[in-house]
């Protein structure tokens, strides 16, 4: 009996403790509610750098940015459905499509897409190609590495008698969109036969899933040529090629040539930053330079979350250079960041 009372007393004490803990927890969550969690989704291209930015940003502010790399197409669909605070796409939306859905968009970060080849005796940066030749290779018109069209561009290089195997992406992707956009700008035949898109009707070759799939195939198949994001080419030690740009110069793919492309692209005439940077006019510009656009509501449903989203992008564009560079992305040039921030003032209700 005594025992029973004793245990009861302990029991009630315990209940009191739990209740107090619960109250404390409730207060704590109420405090945490000051920090806002925002959600974005879309492009896989931008995912690594967004993840780093959001980690650094949440350390600084306590606000968390949750980003899901579900693909650009799905990201656009989700932001239109109103389930996200921001979407991210490798392909810009046209001005009237933005207007229809009450959205605005701006670029986030720059990356390069590079042709990579597996040719015996050819190391990274040695092979020279121009857009027309690249298009003919991907059309299947040039099918051997000793073709005179390739030899004419590579006078110092000994190219073997080896079959060319084209490797492209099997999944829809922004990388493919920028690559085919470039080929369409250069080659009328390419434009007529395949065109541009996140996935196209490939005239030849095999498909690898993702950048990693293309990289794996190119590494394994002798005589193959493919295209991957610059970071993948570097990380896998692949033999990327030089490209002849619109100014007629051969350029190596690197941070400078990507930045040059972003610098010389004519953003002033592009409404809602609807501009694909491929085949940019600059002397040093890499011809297949790409960006990813963030897409947000002009009149957000939740002002607090929208404010946090803009705060995050402002912080990332102004302070996120180191994170971007460590992942082989290129931060936007300062002039472009200023242009974006003034676009925010006019376009978005904040």
């Amino acid at each position: 009996m005594l025992n029973c009372i004793g245990s009861n007393r302990i029991g009630s004490k315990r209940i009191g403790f739990i209740a107090r803990a619960a109250v404390l927890a409730a207060i704590a969550t109420a405090g945490a509610a000051h920090a806002t969690d925002i959600t974005g989704a879309g492009s896989t291209f931008v995912y690594p750098v967004l993840a780093k930015w959001s980690a650094a940003y949440s350390e600084k502010t306590g606000n968390r940015v949750n980003y899901q790399s579900i693909g650009s197409g799905a990201g656009i669909a989700q932001i239109k459905a109103g389930t996200l605070d921001f979407g991210a796409s490798d392909k810009p939306l046209a001005a009237d499509e933005l207007k229809q859905s009450g959205l605005g968009q701006f670029p986030l970060v720059i990356g390069g897409i590079v042709p990579v080849a597996n040719v015996e005796g050819v190391r990274a940066g040695q092979l020279k190609l121009d857009g027309a030749t690249l298009a003919r290779i991907f059309l299947g018109e040039i099918s051997n590495w000793n073709d005179p069209a390739i030899a004419a561009l590579n006078s110092g290089l000994k190219l073997p008698n080896a079959r060319i195997t084209v490797v492209h992406r099997s999944d829809g992707s922004g990388t493919t969109f920028n690559f085919t956009n470039y080929l369409s700008k250069i080659s009328p035949t390419w434009k007529a036969k395949a065109g541009e898109g996140t996935a196209v009707n490939w005239p030849s070759g095999i498909g690898g899933k993702g950048n990693e799939g293309v990289a794996a195939f190119v590494k394994q198949i002798r005589g193959s040529i493919g295209y991957v994001e610059y970071a993948y080419a570097l990380q896998n030690g692949m033999a990327y090629a030089q490209l002849k740009n619109a100014a007629g110069q051969y350029v190596q793919p690197d941070a400078q040539s990507f930045a040059a492309a972003a610098d010389t692209a004519d953003w002033s005439r592009a409404q809602d930053f609807n501009l694909i940077m491929t085949n940019a006019p600059g002397e040093q510009a890499w011809p297949i330079t790409a960006t990813t656009w963030a897409i947000l509501y002009e009149q957000p449903k939740d002002a607090q979350r929208s404010k946090t989203a803009f705060d995050f992008f402002k912080w990332s564009l102004e302070n996120g250079q180191t994170q971007a560079q460590s992942l082989d992305y290129v931060p936007l040039p300062k002039s472009l960041v200023e242009r974006i921030e003034s676009y925010w003032q006019t376009q978005f209700e904040q």
Binding site: S72, G172, G197, A199, N201, I206
Partner: protein, 325 residues
């Protein structure tokens, strides 16, 4: 019936009543579980047909025989992936069935007792490996091996044969229908083997021992006693494996080459229904593109259904030829 009647006499009416109501509830519960399967099946079929109707309305029956796959111009056809699915699964079965038969026979008839359980467990473990692992193994280990050793040999020796040479000629990519078929076979073998082993164990010992007593070899016992006795279950196991091969996605997409091109050679890359859907669904940016992918899914559904129906018919025919037991 009789024993049930005797039981009921021993119980008072109320308990019998409760017993029957419990029985009825159990009957409804079990029936409900079965209905859930039927409902899920019906729901899946209906929603796929609904999602696919735009593609079928646009392309009509040509969707089935067209080799087009042009996301830019919005022209789609199912022939290339459908053939890829059927051919790669067919190759997988051609390899997996005899091998599984051999393994099951070894484990039930030939192997010493101490070896049987460890090997059987190892095979069941194989069934538990996620398919993405098979895909990565295929991509990083098996494809280079095929490209370096197997494909060149096939091309040089079989590719030159008159008539059938065109099925075996091609560049040594390491990727393609043949490689996909082999990887699928490795994935299917554990399933088929498990079923075969289980049913081989059900063969009464006196049948086998009688045959051995008459001087039959192990092979003769397997072929004339074990297999006829278990035929139905063995065919069931084979079709379980086929079902898995038809729907396999990740492993195939890594080794098949994902090319929307029709080619007769087994060394050339192709595409499969499941791989095409997995690859392209996230970025299918127009409604007709998405609808065409769902139509592919619907087609796979029909294909599996047809295969199962053929299996049933085959079984019925075998039973009829055999006559009443």
């Amino acid at each position: 019936m009789n024993s049930a009647g005797q039981l009921a006499i021993g119980l008072d009416a109320e308990r019998v009543d409760r017993r029957f109501s419990g029985d009825r509830a159990f009957r409804w519960l079990a029936g409900g579980c079965a209905a859930l399967v039927a409902l899920a099946l019906l729901g899946a079929a209906t929603s796929m047909a609904w999602g696919a109707h735009e593609a079928f309305a646009t392309f009509g029956w040509r969707f089935l025989i067209s080799t087009d796959w042009d996301p830019v111009d919005h022209r789609f056809g199912a022939l290339v992936p459908a053939i890829g699915t059927v051919v790669s699964s067919g190759i997988a079965l051609l390899i997996a069935v005899p091998v599984s038969f051999g393994i099951a026979l070894f484990l039930t008839e030939v192997a010493p007792a101490w070896l049987r359980q460890p090997v059987a467990s190892a095979i069941e473990l194989l069934a538990g490996i996620p398919s993405i692992i098979y895909g990565m193994w295929g991509l990083f280990v098996f494809v280079p091996f095929m490209a370096a050793h197997v494909d060149p040999w096939i091309d040089a020796h079989l590719g030159k044969l008159p008539g059938i040479g065109m099925f075996f000629s091609g560049p040594p990519l390491g990727l393609g229908m043949f490689t996909a078929g082999i990887v699928l076979a490795i994935m299917v073998i554990p399933f088929v083997t498990s079923v075969m082993r289980e049913v081989f164990l059900t063969v009464p010992n006196r049948l086998k021992e009688s045959a051995y007593a008459l001087g039959a070899t192990t092979w003769e016992v397997a072929w004339h006693i074990v297999l006829p006795y278990t035929r139905q279950a063995v065919i069931g196991g084979v079709f379980l494996g086929l079902g898995r091969a038809l729907g396999e996605t990740m492993a195939v997409t890594f080794v098949l080459g994902n090319a929307h091109e029709l080619s007769v050679s087994l060394l050339m890359p192709g595409n499969s229904i499941a791989a095409a859907i997995a690859n392209e669904f996230t970025e299918a940016d127009s409604s007709i593109y998405r609808s065409s992918l769902i139509a592919l899914g619907f087609l796979l559904f029909l294909l599996t259904f047809i295969v199962l129906a053929i299996a049933r018919l085959m079984l019925r025919r075998i039973e009829r030829n055999r006559g009443p037991a």
